[in-house]
């Protein structure tokens, strides 16, 4: 029996592409998702996210990530697969980045077993509320990847389609074996 799946989009909406995670979270909140899935606009909550981590069995984090790739490139990875270059084990709540909050959660035994990060390579991090065209164009792909994470967790093969068309019976989405 799967527990709660938590999808958190983080970032600062006022820093153009930095806010892509929040843009995605806000899109996802409009969709009709399985009851066991919760979407949260994490904004720049930093360590405040810890409380949410504790409640989930699976965590999908969406954030802008500097990966030295082409702007708009979307990469799915797990925390173990990366070296954190933002803080290097130091601690400040914004600079933390997610990886440090995850590390702290793990140390405290609050971290879900299954953590997936969907990173989007930003083009522009400067004051402004619009996404760059490249990052904007990547959103459908990010959405698809997130929905795939949900469906793999709930073994609900029709989720993507069902959520696009919310006329479908909610029971039907989650219980499809």
């Amino acid at each position: 029996m799967a527990g709660k799946t938590l999808i958190i989009g983080v970032g600062n909406l006022l820093l153009k592409d930095e806010g892509v995670g929040v843009h995605v979270a806000q899109e996802l909140q409009k969709k009709d998702l399985p009851a066991e899935v919760e979407v949260y606009d994490g904004g720049v909550a930093g360590i405040g996210l810890l409380d949410f981590f504790r409640e989930a069995s699976k965590l999908v984090l969406i954030d802008a990530a500097e990966m030295n790739l082409k702007p708009g490139t979307v990469v799915r990875f797990t925390p173990e697969k990366v070296k954190d270059l933002s803080g290097g084990g130091k601690f400040s709540t914004h600079d933390v980045g997610l990886l440090e909050v995850l590390e702290l959660a793990k140390a405290l035994g609050h971290c879900p077993e299954d953590v997936v990060i969907i990173g989007i390579q930003p083009k522009e991090i400067s004051w402004g509320t619009d996404l760059s065209p490249e990052v904007q164009a990547s959103i459908p792909q990010v959405m698809e990847m997130v929905l795939k994470e949900i469906s793999s967790n709930f073994i609900a093969t029709e989720v993507t389609e069902a959520t696009e068309n919310n006329k479908m019976n909610k029971e039907g989405e989650t219980s499809t074996p």
């Binding site: 820093l15 360590i47 409380d51 933002s86 130091k90 914004h94 004051w127």
Partner: protein
């Protein structure tokens, strides 16, 4: 005579980025600088052309920690511009929210960002192993504060329900009662917090400066009041520009401020120095136990005042909640008459006094805006403190000097960017 070279790039455990540069040649101080390297913000660009209903939501995104303070300050400015007088109920709910934010922010700073220094740990991580009960307690208190903000603001961060002239959704009475129960139950955590901070050794350093905060006839001011200075009495918030006097310095992309002296301090210590006699009994007692006496000229004590304000935030939220439950909650008419004009709002947020200033046209569209955040008001004072502290610690080993200066900056709980937290990763 010794040479010292301290160069701290991107000071850790500070929100954002700041550098410390110290250069001593043969015992002579050649350089002692607090550099702020964050890009300037373009506050006005975000809000100009936006409707009066959107602006508080936009400004709440400036910071993940002071998002309630920015929201409330923004609403105040808009209401002042439109000549709106809010109801007692709205005022009460907002005063609870600002206490919630003070609790959130101070627990975070005192436990996670400042305390490691006092126990000689590089960060909170080793504390998870050595003092797990401390970390767990801190998180429990943080969660309580988050939930308090959730009940009254609709979200734990970037509040959603506060709006011009009221709230889009009122809190549920059952949720208010439950959070009240938990606030009361937090007593033992509060005692343990006081016991912990009593054991911390605060560096002995004094430098008197001007202290600026809000002041209210009614209470220890956070949500509203007039601007008060330990040097110059009081002035209405609309007069903030004459008291902040923003100016540019070569070493920083942030604007500095000054008033009567070369610099002034804002934040918990400034509030305490201006308003200590308005703290209720339990917070007074906490101050006494922690060795805090007004006037206090030791900037390192800012963290200690934050702990006192944690006590105050808990007690005050309970008191305000009781007042609210007593009066009962009702839906109110939030409609307002749009009119052109300018308004200034000011809230004493966790890090100090904050100002928002908007001008609207007759359709409620913002045509001009200004915002002065607390941290910018502290930069000049941090610089002056560093210049005074360095000669006093010059005979110590370089590492100790570096740590002293870092601790000094962190004591101000500065928020230098309120913005970036981009993941920077390399795949292994």
């Amino acid at each position: 005579m010794k040479n010292i070279n301290v160069n701290v790039d991107h000071l850790t455990r500070v929100e954002g980025h700041g550098n410390i540069v110290v250069n001593v040649k043969e015992g002579k101080i050649e350089e002692c600088k607090w550099e702020v390297v964050e890009a300037p913000r373009f506050f006005e660009a975000f809000v100009r052309g936006r409707s009066y209903l959107e602006i508080a939501h936009i400004t709440s995104r400036i910071c993940g920690i002071c998002s309630i303070g920015h929201t409330l300050c923004s609403l105040q400015a808009t209401e002042a511009a439109m000549g709106v007088k809010i109801s007692e109920q709205t005022r009460l709910l907002r005063r609870i929210l600002i206490q919630g934010e003070n609790l959130q922010s101070h627990v975070l700073h005192s436990y996670f960002l400042a305390a490691p220094d006092f126990v000689g740990a590089p960060s909170v991580f080793p504390l998870v192993q050595t003092h797990p009960e401390v970390v767990v307690r801190a998180l429990r208190m943080k969660k309580l504060a988050n939930d308090l903000c959730d009940v009254f603001g609709g979200r734990t961060v970037h509040p959603i329900t506060p709006t011009v002239n009221g709230f889009t959704k009122l809190p549920e009475i059952k949720d208010i009662k439950e959070i009240r129960r938990r606030l009361v139950a937090a007593g033992p955590d509060l005692e343990a917090t006081l016991a912990l901070f009593k054991t911390l050794k605060i560096p002995d350093f004094q430098r008197e400066t001007e202290y600026i905060s809000l002041k209210s006839k009614e209470e220890y001011a956070l949500y509203e009041g007039v601007i008060a200075s330990t040097d110059a009495g009081t002035t209405p918030v609309a007069n903030y520009r004459n008291w902040t006097n923003e100016y540019l310095v070569p070493q920083s992309t942030a604007k500095y401020t000054k008033h009567v002296r070369d610099s002034y301090m804002v934040g918990a210590l400034a509030r305490f120095n201006n308003n200590h006699d308005q703290l209720p009994a339990r917070a007074q007692k906490a101050a006494e136990e922690l060795g805090l006496k007004a006037p206090c000229y030791n900037p390192f004590m800012n963290t200690v005042v934050q702990v006192v304000e944690v006590v105050h935030a808990l007690d005050e939220s309970i008191r305000l909640i009781d007042e609210l439950l007593d009066k009962g909650l009702k839906e109110e008419d939030r409609r307002i008459l749009l009119k052109a004009g300018r308004g200034v709002g000011s809230v004493d947020v966790p890090r100090g006094i904050l100002f928002h200033d908007y001008t609207y046209d007759r359709n409620g569209i913002c045509v001009e805006a200004n915002c002065i955040i607390p941290t910018n008001q502290n930069h000049a004072n941090i610089q002056k403190d560093m210049e005074a502290l360095l000669p006093q610690v010059l005979d110590r080993p370089q590492e100790e000097i570096r740590l002293s200066l870092e601790m000094l900056v962190r004591a101000y709980d500065p928020c230098i960017s309120c913005s970036t937290h981009l993941l920077k990763v390399e795949f292994v």
